[in-house]
Structures are given as C-alpha cells and as structure tokens.
C-alpha cells in the first residue's frame, strides 16, 4: 500500500518537474488571445521576426549555411518588413562570404543595392541600409577578395555615407592601413592624421588609438624616413609613457635602438630603463594585457636588450649583464 502511495507521489512529482522543466526549456510563451492588445500582437510578431533572424545568424556562425540561407531567402521572398527584401540579400551575401564564396557574396550585395533603389523605404532608413551595404562591399573587397585598392575606394564611399561615427571610424582606419599595405605610406599617414583630426576620433579608445599611432610611425621607417619614424615613436612614448601598453613599450624600444650610444648615451639608457620597466610591469599584469599583444612586448624587450648589449661602454656593466640575461631567457 505504502509502495503504491510512494510510486504515485513520485509520479506526481515527476509530472510537476516535467511541467516546470518544459516551461523553463521552451520559455513562457503566452498564446495571443482575442482580448490581447494590438500592441502586444505587434510586439510578438516583431520579436518572432528578430528571433528567427538571430537564430539564422547563429547558425551561419556555426557553419550551418543551408539553414541560415533558408531564412534569409524567406526574408527575400516573403518580406515581413519593408527592409526584409534588401536585408535578406545582404545577409545572404554575409553567409556566402563567411563560407568563402566571395563571388556569390558580391553578387548578392549588388542585388541588395539594386533592391534598395526600388524599395519604398523612408529616406533615413534607406541611407542607413546603403551605408551598411557599402561597408559590406568594402569589407568583402578588403578581406575576401584581397583587392586593397578597390576596398579603399569603397571605404571612402562608405565613410561618406556612414550614419554612425563608429562605422566612419572603421572605414577611415581600414582605408589608411590598406594604403600602407599597398606601399603608399605617405597617403596612409595622411589618412591617419585626417582621422585623428576628425570628430570620429574623439572617442577612440586607447586600445585602438595606440596601435594606429604605432603603425603610422612604422610606415615612415618602411618608407626609409627614419627621422619621421623616430619623431613619431618618440612622441607616442612621451605622450603615453604613463600608460603601460605594449604599443607604447614597442615605440620606446624603437627609439632606444636608434639612439647612437656615442652621441645619445644618456637618453638611450634612461629610455631603455623606462621601457624595460614597462615590459616587466606588463608581464606582471599579464592577465590585463590583450593576449595578442604579448608578441609585441617580447619584441620590445628584445630590441632594448640587444641595443644595450651593443652599447657596452655607454651602458654600465650591470645593465649590459641584465640585458644579456634577458636575451638568454628568450
């Protein structure tokens, strides 16, 4: 009798748990009733559209392009909002680019632009969509097709059309670096100067500003203009030496290497000590340092230590020994 009771209690408990679990698993989804306000119905439809799209994007990132494209195709064929016909094609392009099919991606972006020209969208929305497509085209040219020259033109167009400072900043920055990739160091540097002078750069975070300044200094060296390279590296060090950062250390290290010990012994040693101190602090705070910058920190240390070993006579014996130790530990 007792066993039967226990079994019944367990079954009821199991049923309750199943119900609670199912609710947790599938979410509380109230059924729209006839009495439900129209705004709730609209909100439900918008949310459902968003979730379908977000799910398709998640599938695209997980490599399930077939499932993602089925949803994007549905957006094209059965648009539920005014922007769907354009955005479905844009998302289709993103999926093809992600799968490495750049020609198809380019084709869908061209189709998206054409669809935008005929879509009955408010001017503001159309402008925003156009800027998005131009940025997509520029990214595709730069990172899918390795067409740096084409990408620069597209980034310039995207920057002019970009409604957000963030996209304009990205377009300007990418165009500058791609110019340097093409060996157009002077133009690349001018683009950085223009970006830094523009309103977009005002809120540029340090972790984006310092790599850009360091790159700009390196381009002068690549162009054979060591004077300007040294001036830029030194100005980067001077302005930011209170900020422990891999790019600041790297900039300081370059200046140490270029100081001839015969004529600039004192600043060379002072700067070398400053850079090595920063390198050590960055190592101690490794958890706070972006892992992708660790290579730069090691590079800065190698440059300074080598330069000190070369500067025996200017650097005292203890410092040279310390530098040799650092090189041995690498």
């Amino acid at each position: 009798m007792n066993a039967k009771k226990t079994v019944r209690t367990c079954l009821i408990a199991g049923l309750v748990c199943s119900t609670v679990g199912a609710i947790l698993a599938y979410g509380w989804q109230p059924v729209h009733s006839r009495n439900e306000p129209a705004s709730s119905v609209r909100a439900g439809a918008s949310r459902e559209r968003h979730e379908r799209k977000a799910t398709a994007i998640a599938k695209m990132h997980a490599g399930d392009h077939a499932a993602a494209r089925a949803e994007f195709q549905r957006m094209i064929e059965q648009p539920a909002s005014l922007t769907d016909a354009v955005d479905g094609r844009r998302m289709m392009a993103m999926s093809f680019r992600s799968a490495g099919e750049t020609a198809a991606a380019g084709e869908y972006l061209a189709q998206a632009l054409a669809a935008l020209d005929t879509a009955p969208l408010p001017a503001e929305t159309a402008a925003a969509m156009r800027a998005l497509i131009l940025m997509d085209q520029a990214d595709l040219a730069a990172f899918g097709e390795n067409d740096a020259a084409g990408a620069i033109r597209l980034y310039d167009a995207a920057r002019a059309a970009a409604p957000s400072a963030k996209d304009a900043d990205t377009a300007a920055r990418n165009a500058a670096i791609l110019s340097a990739d093409l060996g157009q160091y002077g133009e690349a540097s001018l683009r950085v100067d223009a970006l830094l002078a523009s309103s977009e750069a005002k809120g540029m975070p340090t972790d984006e500003l310092l790599p850009l300044l360091s790159s700009q200094a390196s381009w002068f060296a690549s162009a054979g203009n060591l004077d300007e390279a040294a001036r830029h590296y030194l100005s980067l060090w001077d302005a930011h030496h209170n900020t422990d950062n891999a790019y600041v250390a790297f900039a300081g290290a370059q200046c140490v290497a270029w100081y001839p010990p015969q004529t600039h012994c004192e600043p060379k040693i002072a700067l070398a000590r400053g850079v090595l101190g920063m390198v050590d602090r960055l190592r101690l705070a490794a958890a706070k340092v972006d892992a992708s910058d660790q290579g730069l920190i090691a590079s800065a240390e190698q440059t300074v230590a080598t330069s000190l070993v070369n500067a025996a006579g200017c650097a005292d014996a203890a410092l040279v020994e310390e530098a040799q130790g650092r090189l041995r530990r690498r």
Partner: protein, 277 residues
Amino acid sequence: MNRFLFTRAILSGSISLCALLLLAGAMPQVDTWECDPYGYRPKKANPAGCEWEYDTGWYSQREVLLSSSDTAKSSAWEAVTNCGCGWYPHNVPCPTCQPDTISPAVTDTGTWNVTVAKAKQEGLSLKFNLMADVGYTASLTASEQQSLTGTHTETTTIVLVRQKILCFDRFYRTIWTERFRKKKRYADWTFRWLEWCNNNPATATTETSCSQLLAIGSFKWTTYPQFQWAPQKPPCGGVAISYPDPWDGKRETPCCADVCTPPPSPAHPCCGCEAIH
C-alpha cells in the same frame, strides 16, 4: 527490502528526470546571439499616450584593422677582428687575411594569438585572414590549423663568409623583418523603433544598437634573417653616426689612430701595406 529498493529506484528516477528537465531549461535551445532588442530600448521619452515599439533590426559584421607594421629587427653585433695592425713597408709581406665561413641555423616563424568571444570558427577564420594579410604562406600542420594560439617554425641554414681585413675591426649582425598585424571582428545590431500613439503609428523613429566582439587576434611573422655589416665611418669614407642611426651607432673600428688620415709623405699611416696604401 526489495520493496524499498523499488521505491528508491523510482525516487532516483524521478529526481534524475527533474534534474534533466531543469538542465534542459537552463540551456537555451538555440544559441541566438546575445543582443536582444528589448534589452536596448530607446532612452528617448515619448509624448503622453505614446510608446516605442520594436520594428526591425539589422545585423552587420565588421573587421577593424588595429595595427599593421613591418619592423626591422636585429641581433647583437659580432666582431671580426683585424688580421693585422701595423705598417707594412713594400719589402715586408702584408698579412694574408684568411676568411672563415659560418653557417648558422636560422628560423622563419609565424606566431598567432586569437581570442574568441563566441564561436571558435570565427577565431580560426580571423587567424587565416591575418595570415593572408601578412602574406604568410607556410603550410601549417593539422593541429596548428585548428589552434587559436600557436607558432609555426621553419628552419634553414645561411652562410656567411667572414672576411677579415687589415687595420679595421669589422662587425656583423643578423637582421630580419617582423611583420605584425592585429585586427578584431565585431558584430553590431541596429534596432529600429517606431513610435505608436494610442495604437496608431506616429512618424517618429529611433534606433538603438548593441555591439559584440566576435574575435580579436594578431599574427607576427618573423622572417629568415640576413647578415648585415656595419659600415665605415668618416674620414674612412663611410657613414657618419647620426640620430636616428640605422646601425645602432656601430661602425668599423680602426685599429690605430691615423689609418684614414695619414700624415704627409714620407711619413706613413699607423696601419696599412705600402703597396696598397
């Protein structure tokens, strides 16, 4: 006893079922990306009787080039001492400066470091993208291809003939290029909201946005080195030491004072062979 066991089995079965269902409840069914429009409602206030309603959203994925540089790097200088320091008149044979040859093993190294916020696939895609950007074409092993952090090294030997010369200590070092590229990939959602007043659409719209970092990473390509000799310095016809100095201030060193500024004949410089001056 058996009845007890039976009861315990049912109990543990039910508890397991509960645990499984609760676990299923805790895990999202589909990994949708975190930006939810309702977490990013407009802050702009509406007139009385009006409210913002979410309309639609656009997703974009961007790559930001953070850094790109080619930096010349070098090792410490090695000395090749002179093969004679003195004045050798025409009747005294000049020392023969025998070269020696070294062939050190050198490396070409690609180092990558990618951090992903979400899918590993994004990180791997960023890594190969970075490799293509810097022009690195070495063949990675299967495990290197699947790793987000790693180093690929190739080794070869290079040959240097170290020719000693009379009167001057020479210096050489290895130089190489360090090509560094860093970029990040992020995704943005832009959410468009429409104003509805008393259940009728108004004309006002506004947008909110949400940004997610997908991956960030760098690739450093340290190329095979070459040898570089320090130049002469004036008045020996070489390059004056300047700031910034590409040779780190290093020059060939005369073994005595007036090798390059000899006194007028019939006196002679402190070092050299009369036949070749």
